[in-house]
Structures are given as structure tokens and as C-alpha cells.
């Protein structure tokens, strides 16, 4: 089977839209609500999850024939925990501010349902290359949703994007105000609901 066979492309592409882990499988909602108040942390979170998920998928896929079935969850957790610790330390070393904003949520990637779901459902039964693509696809699918939600929350809630002010001062002087509810978690849930709404309206099969 070729590296970029049709099957492998599908493994990578379906989680981006039609089998999106957040909007279709409704996994990883907690972190999607918690870290999306600003675009920067959401982006870092998305990238972190993508890297961890891809690497964990590869490692578990390599080990899949040697892991005893009865302790597979623990083995998966150990692999993920090791990767999360590495990412967490890298974040602390190079982007300390973002790491502070993400606080416990980097550590909580260990419990992110997307990871356990992909490891159990895909990596345990597929070869390393396909597992890598699956991990990247699901990670990107997660990151896309996070970025969309964070884009609207930061734009409407703080008037900024990536920390830079986008809405000009003249608009504020004319009476415009930032929407405080956008900063609060309930609005993330509503925005996520809107994305799911749009997606299902476009694709009735979902």
C-alpha cells in the first residue's frame, strides 16, 4: 500500500471535517471551552494536542502487538503522560506566558478524550504510518475548531486578535463595547453549538 494511497488520505482528511473529533464525535469539549478565550493559547493548545496525538499514535502503533490486552489503557496513559510532560516543559521553557495562560490544561491533555479515543480505536489496530496520519488529522481537526471559536471570542470579547487590537479606537468612541459574555465559558459552548449547527445544516448525513 502506497504512502499516500486513497485510504491513507481519507484517514488524514475525514477528521478535518466530516468526522471531526470536536463537532461530530463531541470529544475534547472541556478544553475547547477552557482555552479559547484568546487566539494565542488556543493555537498553542491545538498544536500541542496535534503533536502529542501524532507521536502517541505512532508509539502505541509500534507497540500494539506487544502490549498485553489487559493493561493496554495503562500503557497508553504512560505514553501520553510522558509526551505531555515533555510538551509542558518545552512550553514552560520557550513560551512561558502562554504556558501560564494554559495553566492546568496542558497537563489535562492526558485525559483528553480525543487521545484515548484515537489510541484505542485506531492506533491499537493500524500500522505506524496510518496511525501518524490519523493522529495529525484528528489533531488538526481539533485545532481548527479551537481556532475558529477563539477567533470569534477574542475578536468580540476583547477586540483583539493574537493580542493586537483589531477593532479601531474610533469604533469604541462611537459607543461600541466589548461583549463580556464572550470571555465567559458559556459563550464558547454556544459558538461551538453554532459551528455544529452550520456543519449539520450543510451536511444532512451527519
Amino acid at each position: 500500500m502506497g504512502l499516500f494511497s486513497k485510504q491513507n488520505k481519507e484517514v488524514f482528511a475525514t477528521p478535518l471535517l466530516n468526522n471531526n473529533p470536536v463537532t461530530v464525535q463531541i470529544l475534547g469539549i472541556c478544553s475547547a471551552l477552557a482555552v479559547t478565550a484568546k487566539l494565542g493559547p488556543a493555537l498553542v493548545m491545538g498544536i500541542s494536542v496535534t503533536i502529542i496525538l501524532a507521536l502517541a499514535n505512532v508509539v502505541i502503533s509500534l507497540l500494539r502487538n506487544t502490549i498485553p490486552n489487559r493493561i493496554r489503557i495503562i500503557v497508553q496513559l504512560v505514553v501520553v503522560a510522558a509526551l505531555v510532560t515533555i510538551v509542558s516543559l518545552i512550553l514552560k521553557a520557550f513560551v512561558y506566558d502562554v504556558s501560564v495562560q494554559l495553566s492546568v490544561y496542558v497537563g489535562l491533555i492526558i485525559t483528553n478524550c480525543i487521545l484515548m479515543g484515537r489510541l484505542e480505536a485506531f492506533a491499537m489496530a493500524n500500522k505506524p504510518w496510518a496511525s501518524l496520519l490519523d493522529g495529525l488529522g484528528n489533531g488538526f481537526g481539533y485545532a481548527i475548531i479551537l481556532v475558529i471559536v477563539a477567533f470569534f471570542r477574542e475578536l468580540l470579547g476583547s477586540g483583539t486578535l493574537m493580542g493586537y487590537q483589531v477593532i479601531p479606537e474610533a469604533v469604541y468612541n462611537a459607543g461600541y463595547m466589548n461583549n463580556g459574555l464572550m470571555i465567559l465559558p458559556p459563550m464558547a459552548l454556544i459558538l461551538l453549538g453554532c459551528i455544529i449547527w452550520v456543519q449539520r445544516a450543510k451536511n444532512p448525513e451527519l
Partner: protein, 403 residues
């Protein structure tokens, strides 16, 4: 009336299937059924017929809101001229006219946005226009402060209609009160325009009417705001000019507050109409007041030594939005409990939560909105428990008879 009927009959073919304007069928239908009770009857099955339908029901609530709205307009003018120190020299009609000019744009914006969305959705889905927004559209302007900007009201109305009503399936399907969702959205999104001391009294003139500078010693805090932020354990409530304000002022409604909520007398007139026509449930209404009074009394004797806990129980009921919420919001037949026993529990809990939030949460001087929203969500649970209790009771009885 006959002329109107004839005009509608003449226009009907144009809007019917195959007519020139058939795409606006639902709009025409909406207006026709609004003006006249529809002549259509169900063709199959057993049905109970009543002269009343939900459009007539909604209009009754709007009529019941009128005293509070008209008094609210007068009070807006009253507070404004009190703030600029010209109250003694200004006549009744000037006060009312000023308030009318201040409130009217809010009503127009609320109806334009809300009905605009309703009409668009109905047109788009080819359904009948739902009449539910008639009441919500009148409630929204009445539960916001007079200084609330129109554009944020428009956003809140749109948000409430779409997310509290349409996505649940339209009128009669909503879980929480639409007008209160609009208010909650405003409250959490734009707290500086919905609470605090600077939003309850209009200090600028309108179209050259009521120009003047605010007097020295002006304070725009509502009675509950003053009580809530007081550091002493007893507080003398003052009006916006700093003079002592009596309980009678609050009963009449000459205190700062949201547009429609201030006058107990005007709300009572609406309450009488709602109770006589049986649009609202007396059980819900009474139990809200009972729950609030009892909770406030318990706080009075509890020994908690803050001004708001020491506020006499009857003042808790007349200040703020308690009366308005109890009469017009908690009794909403769609979102309140529907079982008879459930109405008592629901109402009592609304009163209890409202006073508890007021007393125990220093961040929120008023708790009625949050209390009703919370109990709206719990209402189906209350109903479920009541129904289950009844089922198990009857099962037990059936068993004891069979033995």
C-alpha cells in the same frame, strides 16, 4: 370591523397558493389571524374548542403590561426632572412626554428585531408566524435600564429570539423565558450598561426637551443598589436627589429602576387582569410572594448583620424587580411548572432564590432574573417528580384495593 374583514378577504387570493404574492403567505396569514379569530376548525379527532387562542392570550398579557409601561414612562420623566432639579416647575404631561420619547425607541427596536427574525424564519421555513414575540417584545424594553443603548438591546433581542426560542422549536417550546434571556445576555455581556449607579436615570435631554445640568448630590443608585452596597447594618434609602425615600414612594413607583418594574400599584393592576382572565396562575404568583416573604423574614431574624439582610421583608417584595418578575415572568405558562402541585414548589423556590441571591451575593443586588431563569430550567424536573409521585401513590392505592 366589517370594512377590515372585506379588505382582508379581497387581499386573500393574492397571498394564497398560486397568487402573485404567495411567497408572503405566512406574513399575511399572521396578520389575518392577529386581527380575526381564525375560522378554521380541526377536521379529525376530538378537540376542545375555545374562543381563546394563543394570540388572544398574548394580547391579554400585553394589555396587562400597559399600566406598568405607562407608569414607567412617567417615572422616567419624573426621575429625569428630579435629577436636573426642575421637578417642581414641570407639569405631568411634560414628564410623561419625556419618558415616552425615552422609552419608545426601545420598544420599536425590540419589536423590529424580534419580529424581523420571527417573520424571516417563518417565511423561510414556510410556517405560520408564531405570536410569542408579542409579549417578549413588550417585556424586553420594560426590564432594561433607561440608559441601555439601543444597539446592545438589538443584539440581546436577536440572541434571545434565536438561542432561547427558535432553536428549541419556536413559540411554546422554549425552556427559559425569552425576555429574561435577553436581559441575562445584556447583564453578563455589558455589565456597565445594565447595573451600577449610572444607568437607571436618564440625565441627558431628548430633542431639546429637559435639557439641564444634574444637581449637586445626585446619586443614581436604586434602593436595592444602596442597600446592597451599604457598609452599615442599617441604611436609610434615599431618592436620586439624596432625600429620604419612603416605602410609599416605592409602592407608587417613584424610585429609580428598570423601566417597567418600579410601580407596585401599576403591576398590581396588570396582575388583577391576568388573574381575572386566568391567563396567569394564581398559585404560582402567590407562592412566589410567599416564598420571598418567608425567606426575607428568616433573614431578618437570622442575625446576619448586613443592611440587605436587615431590610424588612415587605420592602424586599416592593423594591427591585420582585413584583414584576412574580407577576409577569414567573407565571409564563410555557416556562413555569405545569402541574398544580408543581406550581406551588416552583413559585416558592423562585421567591426563595431571588431573596437568597440578593442577601448572600454582594455582587448582585437583584436576584429575581437569575432566580426565575434557574427555576425555568428546573420546572420540567419539578413536574416530573410531581407526576411520578402521583403515579406511585395511585399504584399503591390500586394494590391495597386489590389485596
Amino acid at each position: 370591523m366589517n370594512a377590515l374583514r372585506k379588505l382582508l378577504d379581497k387581499m386573500k387570493p393574492t397571498f394564497s397558493e398560486g397568487g402573485k404574492l404567495s411567497m408572503f403567505r405566512s406574513v399575511f396569514d399572521g396578520f389575518e389571524t392577529f386581527l380575526f379569530v381564525p375560522n378554521a376548525t380541526s377536521k379529525s379527532g376530538a378537540h376542545i374548542h375555545d374562543a381563546n387562542d394563543s394570540k388572544r392570550l398574548m394580547i391579554m398579557v400585553v394589555i396587562a403590561l400597559m399600566p406598568a409601561l405607562l407608569f414607567g414612562m412617567y417615572n422616567v420623566g419624573y426621575q429625569h426632572y428630579l435629577a436636573i432639579g426642575q421637578l417642581a416647575t414641570t407639569g405631568f404631561w411634560t414628564l410623561f412626554w419625556f419618558g415616552f420619547l425615552a422609552v419608545l425607541p426601545k420598544i420599536i427596536v425590540s419589536y423590529l428585531v424580534g419580529l424581523g427574525i420571527e417573520f424571516t424564519v417563518a417565511q423561510w421555513k414556510g410556517e405560520e408566524i408564531h405570536e410569542g414575540f408579542l409579549v417578549s417584545g413588550m417585556l424586553i424594553p420594560m426590564i432594561v435600564p433607561v440608559e441601555c443603548p439601543l444597539w446592545i438591546m438589538a443584539i440581546a433581542t436577536a440572541f434571545a429570539v434565536v438561542f432561547a426560542k427558535e432553536i428549541f422549536g419556536g413559540t411554546g417550546m422554549n425552556i427559559v423565558n425569552v425576555a429574561l434571556v435577553a436581559r441575562a445576555f445584556l447583564f453578563f455581556s455589558y455589565p456597565t450598561k445594565m447595573s451600577g449607579d449610572n444607568v437607571w436615570v436618564r440625565t441627558d435631554g431628548i430633542l431639546g426637551l429637559g435639557d439641564g445640568n444634574v444637581i449637586d448630590g445626585f446619586t443614581g443608585a436604586t434602593p436595592l443598589g444602596q442597600v446592597g452596597s451599604a457598609l452599615e447594618s442599617q441604611v436609610q434609602v434615599t431618592d436620586i436627589a439624596g432625600q429620604a425615600s419612603s416605602t410609599l414612594d416605592a409602592v407608587i413607583g417613584l424610585i429609580p429602576g428598570s423601566i417597567g418594574e418600579t410601580s407596585v400599584i401599576a403591576i398590581a393592576l396588570g396582575a388583577i387582569l391576568l388573574l381575572v382572565t386566568r391567563v396567569a396562575s394564581w398559585k404560582t404568583m402567590l407562592s412566589v410572594f410567599a416564598g420571598g416573604a418567608l425567606t426575607a423574614y428568616l433573614f431578618n431574624v437570622s442575625g446576619i448583620d448586613t443592611a440587605v439582610a436587615n431590610l424588612p421583608w415587605y420592602q424586599h417584595l416592593i423594591y427591585g424587580g420582585f413584583c414584576f418578575g412574580a407577576v409577569f415572568m414567573a407565571t409564563d405558562p410555557v416556562t413555569s411548572a405545569r402541574t398544580e402541585a408543581g406550581k406551588w414548589i416552583y413559585g416558592f423556590m423562585v421567591g426563595f432564590m431571588a431573596i437568597t441571591i440578593r442577601v448572600l451575593n454582594p455582587g448582585y443586588p437583584e436576584g429575581m432574573m437569575l432566580a426565575i431563569l434557574l427555576l425555568n430550567v428546573c420546572a420540567p424536573l419539578i413536574d416530573h417528580c410531581v407526576v411520578q409521585a402521583n403515579i406511585s401513590k395511585r399504584l399503591k392505592r390500586a394494590k391495597s384495593i386489590n389485596q
